[in-house]
Symmetry: D2
Subunit: 364 residues, 4 copies
């Protein structure tokens, strides 16, 4: 089950950077959801490289086809298969990486574990593998939309440049207006400058991506081991390059006493609210009706053109490595859509599990 | 499956704060592991309250019995059941919380989701529920010990007091010497002072708990959705009060460029090493042979004696709440054993899954 | 997960014939189901031996306690633990079976697989292990009752004695009136005679147990691998001594052409019915609204007092074996409650999975 | 997870009769298994219709491509995707079945459950869906072959014509020599005659398919709920048209006393054997080293050209149905490869689970 995730809304992904195709099988999506390839394509386009100076100039067309699961324009309760065929996958020679793992990439572990590692473009360790996440996430987002749930991921920090807090709708608008996918237009400009200067150096920089989901009903999540925060932490940490996950205040809880950050209740317009949302919409492992807020730490892309120390595993001797090519000087803008997709997959799964969406049929 | 975790080494926990018993069924532990109730008891004693001024003065005996799974002093491949019967569970009146959820506790979500919430002592939302984690973790630790794997969790920060970095063996020794379970004796004293002063105020404080596992072989973890970091993040975030999880450098990756933090390889004594361990022992979602390092953000215990705003859910009106009783002014010292147990459960599971431990029999 | 079954309504069982206790943890039962220990006890009493001449005269009190999951007399959404403590488990010397497996029992496979087999009373291979099934099944039956679903298992054949077909209510009444738990009183008498005569010979006899579930809505089961018939076949075949499972006509389909056994549709009182139910209530792996009918082949109890050939595994030499003691000359009457329980567990699971019962709360 | 099966060796299938493609994603196959599309193609060719007079004369090319999971001609530990693109899927008008379910087909349940049923050629309820099983099974068989395990499925009964018992190698040879895939050449001729005469009548006939697996080591299967017999029963009953599953003697146990059918042990050439194999190679839910023998009851293909009673679900009135087209007068010969594949999937899964095959790498 290592390439599947979700209990009721389950995705199974396959494919590698330079293989024939990449894709996802989505099982458990209720019947009667209107769905077209365009719904998926528009999400895939967000993770596509080559769209600005801050990402790799590599061109990847990444056209998705739906091979199963749709009848009369709507899901029919059977597995939905979305697939992207790789093009020009033979474009480059990767043989210098065959026995020489790139520092802070997964190469070394893949080599040791499986003894037959497809080192071309990182194989299944490549960022291209998130095409599967995005296919699943696009369907999840469409499903959640029927319940009025919306999700946005945006960059809130690159290096030492931080975005100002914005409200949900502003973020939604602003992320489409800048290549950083940052909710704060001013910060976005500074972030862009930083990324370009780091790129000049042949280096890379990391950042923080925040995800906010609104209109999530109270009661998603199943203590004690399928808690909503645990399931979110897993899927987010599973994204390559992510080294930390926070919910609500996250690590900042350490700098506060309970009296400063407890979310006190209040009744407004006959509705229960909390006065603050330091819990990030999750208490006791379940959603509490407030926006669900997570943040992930994204490391600098480990592929850099600077010379690094590595080894030759066949000869068992030290060896220098220079990773040429057109790498992302900062992967954060492209990670936003993966974080959004991953969050959507978890929420869709729990919406069905908790009985908010009928498992067989949306119309019921 | 919401109360089960693990694929091959799987624990299922049950019980609540004031019910008859709490426990865990551990399924998938290989046969022929020597195991006694004492092995579990000594771990449970570490999470026991009432042992110092920095925890609640409540006394909980928490004596564990093993009801199944052992034959001739060794596991026999059948499910191991560890159980702790609650004593004096009727000691207190919790009825004031019946319709009034405590801020930043799970009460409100439990009430809304299940419509029949055992509000006594927090029911199954209580910290006592981690007895199940510790039973499972104690068995996992014993199993890992047969493979030379050791794990230690320790407090590295309380409020603004941070511990100095120590080596593994020093931490192991030091945590037993101070009530904070901090690896740095000097910092421990400052932390103790801080906790006691916060306790005086009727408030509470949070902190950071770090877990280090050594001698883990290369290749644990299964990309792309059962990665070792994802599975650790899930189980750690599932611990009550945890709001953030980091692996290796964690959120600090943001403050560095790739050239500063990439873990370069080197061959030493014919063994592959990385010169640094900023990845925290996990690359591409798999262990790489270096120590596995995680950190969790633990929020201040939300139960404080200060007056707080809440609501009466039956009358749907605002209502003040004061949570009397003997609460932990800082839960971090007791969380260490839960983090250690949780980490052990994930590692034991992956050791079997990856074929390092034979699933039916240790002797093979 | 080898001791767990079910996806949403999940039972995990533990314990062995002569260990301290046997039981089940039931996870995923919706909140607000009224439940008492008596609900479970009355089912356990049906599988209790020593109640008639056709079962073993061994006395087993088998008193169940509920240790968790109930609040104010109703389930609260947390795991329900039912437990039976073994009494007098040291009553007999089983050491002659330590290295000598009983023919057609599981002993040999347990010994080889785990290398530490609890041979006392068959260990976890014992029929006593079905106490866990019955605990889970009793809860499942109570849950199904809220949806008007009823299940009855009854003996339809012992050796060459077959019961006449009866309607559901007659079966329900009759099974309580004879020790065979046969729905046909006349056949029951013949069956009893047959069993007693086989018992005289120091031998044992098998039979067929049929299970009928009524009022199951259309649409339970999830093709193509969680079909209702597949899930029933698995849980029924998992019962010790079962060597065959049939749905509807079962193996008799071979003796008919499609035109003779196809279930043609008809509309009666504005409801869709099939004129016959040769499909046994399941088409395409899903329930179709007709009664769900299964049958299992139960082999003769392999424990017989006649001398048999076996081996000494330590000395690796042939050795005769005589299994003394008070064995069931026919296990079928006691298997009925296990088949009923197993069927209930599968139906309860699928009722929740398919959205007919709200997963968190019966009241919604 | 309704379209996935297996714990370690897991297949997820997708696609429908008249959609764009059908296929399977195989996750958990260890690395370093040599695998080509031809390995799968030769199995698919066995289930292909149009190869003899006893199957439908429909032509289906069914060419498989492998889209992922192979590197340098060997599996690389990542998911293997096998796919068959449908051709000419718009060849026929199925609209008469839109509201009129075919008797004893799954149509009615699919319509009720999902409210958007692809009625073209039976949609995902079609026999074509077993293409996914066969893709998974072909890989499983190749994997088992590395451990010397072989599996053969053959027809042992059609209507009232029964095959004589043959030994494993004779069956293997004979099934390739007759269109029935029967291990007994003489019986095969009679079976062929029977099928052709039933076909003349516009009717269909069922049969029994037996599967034998040899060289399976002792100890596959995990009591009490992942027993080998339970897992086989599930996957076999999940095959469309199957209404019964037997292991070993199956329902014939009822006609014997224990003393007649208990499998007594004997030591031969220093190896433990049982003198008979009435248990069908499985005791206590685990393999015992003897050949594993199962039989399934396959119903007559419900699609027949004779006029039948059905209904119009839109108008809610009775309506006659005649199913024209070129249907299989007996599906048994084509079911053999599906039974063989299904058995291989379960055995491959348990070989890995039980530690007989290293989960990451065959070479270890």
């Amino acid at each position: 089950m290592s390439n599947s995730i979700g209990e009721k809304f389950q995705i199974t992904t396959f494919g590698s950077s330079h293989g024939k195709a990449l894709g996802a099988v989505v099982d458990g999506c209720p019947a009667n959801l209107k769905l077209t390839a365009e719904d998926i394509q528009k999400e895939l386009d967000k993770r596509k490289p080559g769209t600005s100076k801050v990402t790799t100039p590599r061109k990847e067309a990444d056209e998705v086809q739906i091979l199963s699961g749709i009848f009369n324009g709507k899901t029919d309760g059977t597995p939905i298969t979305g697939i992207v065929f790789n093009k020009n996958q033979k474009s480059k020679d990767y043989s210098m990486f065959k026995n020489t793992p790139r520092p802070s990439h997964g190469d070394y572990a893949w080599m040791m574990k499986y003894n037959n590692y497809d080192y071309n473009g990182g194989g299944r360790g490549s960022g291209r593998v998130t095409i599967g996440h995005v296919i699943g996430g696009a369907i999840a987002k469409k499903l959640l939309k029927t319940q009025n749930i919306e999700i946005i991921s945006h960059v809130v920090q690159i290096g030492d440049v931080k975005a100002e807090k914005q409200d949900f709708n502003t973020i939604k608008e602003n992320v489409e207006k800048n290549p950083i996918r940052c909710g704060d237009i001013d910060a976005a400009r500074e972030m862009e400058d930083l990324i370009l200067s780091v790129k000049e150096e042949g280096d890379s920089v990391g950042g923080v991506v925040e995800t906010i989901a609104v209109n999530v009903p109270t009661g998603l999540g199943e203590p004690v081991f399928s808690r909503l925060d645990g399931d979110l932490a897993r899927i987010l940490m599973n994204i390559g390059a992510v080294k930390g996950v926070e919910i609500g205040l996250g690590f900042d809880v350490v700098n506060n006493k309970a009296s400063q950050i407890n979310d006190e209740y209040i009744i407004e317009d006959d509705k229960v609210m909390s006065k603050t949302n330091n819990s990030g919409g999750i208490i006791g492992g379940m959603s509490n009706g407030m926006p669900i807020v997570s943040r992930i730490a994204v490391k600098p892309t480990p592929s850099i053109s600077k010379c690094q120390d590595s080894i030759d595993l066949e000869k068992m001797e030290n060896k220098k490595i220079e990773i040429k090519g057109r790498h992302d000087p900062c992967i954060c803008p492209r990670v936003t859509v993966v974080a959004e997709s991953s969050t959507a997959i978890v929420l869709a799964d729990h919406m069905i599990r908790s009985g908010f969406i009928h498992p067989s049929d949306l119309e019921k």
